[in-house]
Subunit: 170 residues, 2 copies
Amino acid sequence: MIIRPATPADHASISRIVLPVIRAGETYALDRGMSEEAALAYWCGADRFTSVAQAHDGAILGTYYLRQNQQGGGAHVANCGYMTAPDATGKGIARTMCLHSLSEARRRGFRAMQFNFVVSSNTRAVGLWKSLGFAEVGCLPLAFDHPLLGFVDALVMFRTLEMEPAPGTA
Amino acid sequence: MIIRPATPADHASISRIVLPVIRAGETYALDRGMSEEAALAYWCGADRFTSVAQAHDGAILGTYYLRQNQQGGGAHVANCGYMTAPDATGKGIARTMCLHSLSEARRRGFRAMQFNFVVSSNTRAVGLWKSLGFAEVGCLPLAFDHPLLGFVDALVMFRTLEMEPAPGTA
C-alpha cells in the first residue's frame, strides 16, 4: 500500500469511502444527507491536503485530510480526518494513514495535532489515537447525537509533534 | 443599550470593533493581517446570526455571532464569538451579549453552547464565561501563539442550555 496525494481522478473512489460514513452518521459531525458534491467539497477542500491509501492492485482503501486547525495564533496545530473503505477495515489502514499524517504535519512545520470531535462511542478510533500518542484533553458532554445510541460525549484529542529522541540517545 | 440583529449598514461599525481585536492577535485565532473584507465575511458570514449591541445614542458598543458549532450529530450545540468596542470595555457589554446569546440559542432550539478556543491568558473572558455557567471541559496545551506571551494554552468551554427550574419549583 502507498499513500499519495489525492487527485481529481480519485474523487469517485473517495466518494465511495466518504459517503457511507457520512450517511451512517455515527462518527463524523456532518449532515447525513449532504450531497456527494458537498461531501467532496468538504473532504477535498482547498484549505486541506487530501491523500489516499492505495493498494498495489490500484484499489483506494482509505483517505485522509490534513489542514491547519485554526488561523493566526493557532496556525501551528494541525487537524486531520481519516476514513477507511468499508471492506478494508481492521487491516491497520487508519493507523498507517495517521502515522503518515503525523510525518506530513511535522514536515509542514506543524507543532501539534488536534482532533476536535472524536465521538466517544467510536471506541476503536479512540483506542487507536491513544496508541498513537494522542491524549484526551477535553470531553464535550453529550455533544454528539448518535443515530442509534442517542446523545454521547465527544472527545478532544491532542498530541505534540516534537521529535522523539532517536533510539540510543539519552 | 439594545441588542439587535446586525444589518449591512452596521458593517463599518463592526469593522471598527473587530479589526483592532484581530490586528492585536491576542484573543482570537484569526490571521492578524486579514483584510477588512475577510474579517466581515467571517464575522457576518451566511452560516451565522450576527448581532450588535447599540447604545441609546446609536453607537455600536459590541457585536457577537451565534452559529451551529458542528453539523449533523453535533448540530444541537451552538458556538458564539463576542467582541466589545475598545472604548467600551469594563461596562458589562460582553456579559449582556453573552446572556442575550444564551437566550437566543435556547430560542433556536440549541441544547448547549461551546467555545472552542478561549485563550487562557484572556483571564477576563475566562472568568466571565465561568460566571455565566461555562465549565472548562478541555485544555489545548500551548495551542495559541500569543504575540507577547508566546505559546499559551487554549481552553474549551461548555455549558448546557437546559432550562433552569423556575424559582419555587422542586
